[in-house]
Amino acid sequence: MTRERFDKRITEALHKMTDRAAYEMQDENWQRIRKGIKEMEQSSGSGRRSHWNRKVGIGVSAAVLVLVLSISTRTGQAALEKIRQYFEPEKIVEYEVEGSREDVDSRLQQGEIGYVVYYDQDRYKVVEDGKTDRIVMRDPAEGMPEVYMEISQDADKLPEELAVKLEAELRKDFSRVEAPINVSEPLEAVFIHAINGGTKADDPIVDYYLISNKKGGTFIIKMKYFLEAAEGHGSRFRSMLRDFTILE
């Protein structure tokens, strides 16, 4: 059988075997959709989003959880190991990307610099060099602009001090740099956003989230992506950050 005939037969089989069920579902689905929309609109003044956020809240922690323990002693190291065991090696994390909800198979990343985060293991991998960890695309398309989320630590500078330095550095390469602000979503941090251009799909974007390590230093989260990917990779990185946890 030729490729064309086989392709045609696949199409015919899929159509014939879904004909009746699709027809039967149409009206009932519509009634349920109407009911669902009505219920969502009535359930809260702010609509469906707050309803979903409550559901999401069950699955993900909304803020950084700081686990206080010393890692300088043997007891401390044992305790750290226990804490690490508390985090499942893999779990499902709910992401919201471009209006769509996804349950994402996520893998635990335990950084040597003292943090844990869950990353989308189908799309990304972690490249470590001991001081800086980068979550990069597993399968980037050819010619695609750079996309990554980098995690590092500056043990000596507060988030506010670092923000001044990073903002000045960004101004050299980016046409628009927004002044640092404090944010609480996806976690408590000082946030800086920079974009070069802003009209072309591949215009680069850098976001910094600067998180206090509670010891006078800062965890630096740098996200690099591009305009077209703001709702895609940008949203995915922010979803990962909801589970970012510092092991102090």
Binding site: E12, D19, R34, G99, E102, D139
Partner: protein, 184 residues
């Protein structure tokens, strides 16, 4: 989707939303059924998808094709629902009145059923691109966009999917007729 309909839906015009539903629900239901392999799960996925479309239509970028956006939501809902529920396939989901086809098609219904069962037997990674291409008619580039995959990965999965289907069909033909060479 035309810009006027889009604007009306963004302004929460329920009639416009119903127009959108009537336009896109048929194929969405077919695709959901072929992906989830259950009428009950497919119904849930389609309902959730259109509710999400209604509340998130503001995130859709005007000027872009609507269907890849819609199907990205649909496939994500299918995956989410399949992960959360146990895999139960109800025979009644696929009961079709075979006599309906007896007069309109000379090809034995059994062959379609066999091929459909083989598609159902593919793992999710291979089955979903096959369904999007052959049932909905999406191009490889669009499938890559819907599934957030590299286009070469999509091509490779479609190729592997087709090969597996050919093998499965050849195998069942041989079972029915041991003298068959298996060539299809």
């Amino acid at each position: 989707m035309d810009d006027i309909l889009l604007k009306r839906i963004q302004n929460k015009d329920k009639q416009a939303f119903e127009e959108l539903y009537q336009r896109y629900a048929g194929y969405a239901a077919r695709v959901a059924l072929a992906v989830t392999r259950s009428q009950a799960l497919a119904a849930d996925a389609v309902q959730e998808t259109f509710i999400r479309v209604y509340f998130n239509i503001g995130k859709f970028k005007p000027g872009y094709p609507f269907e890849p956006w819609l199907y990205r939501i649909l496939i994500n809902e299918c995956n989410r629902i399949m992960k959360r529920r146990s895999r139960v396939t109800y025979i009644s989901d696929y009961q079709i009145n075979q006599t309906d086809f007896a007069f309109e098609d000379h090809r034995p219904f059994e062959e379609y059923e066999e091929l459909y069962r083989a598609i159902e037997g593919l793992n999710d990674k291979l089955r979903i691109p096959i369904v999007l291409k052959y049932l909905k008619g999406f191009k490889e580039k669009e499938i890559a966009e819907i599934l957030s995959l590299n286009i070469n990965t999509v091509k490779s999965r479609l190729y592997k999917g087709r090969q597996k289907l050919k093998k499965a069909i050849a195998g069942s033909k041989k079972e029915r007729n041991p003298d068959d060479t298996g060539k299809i």
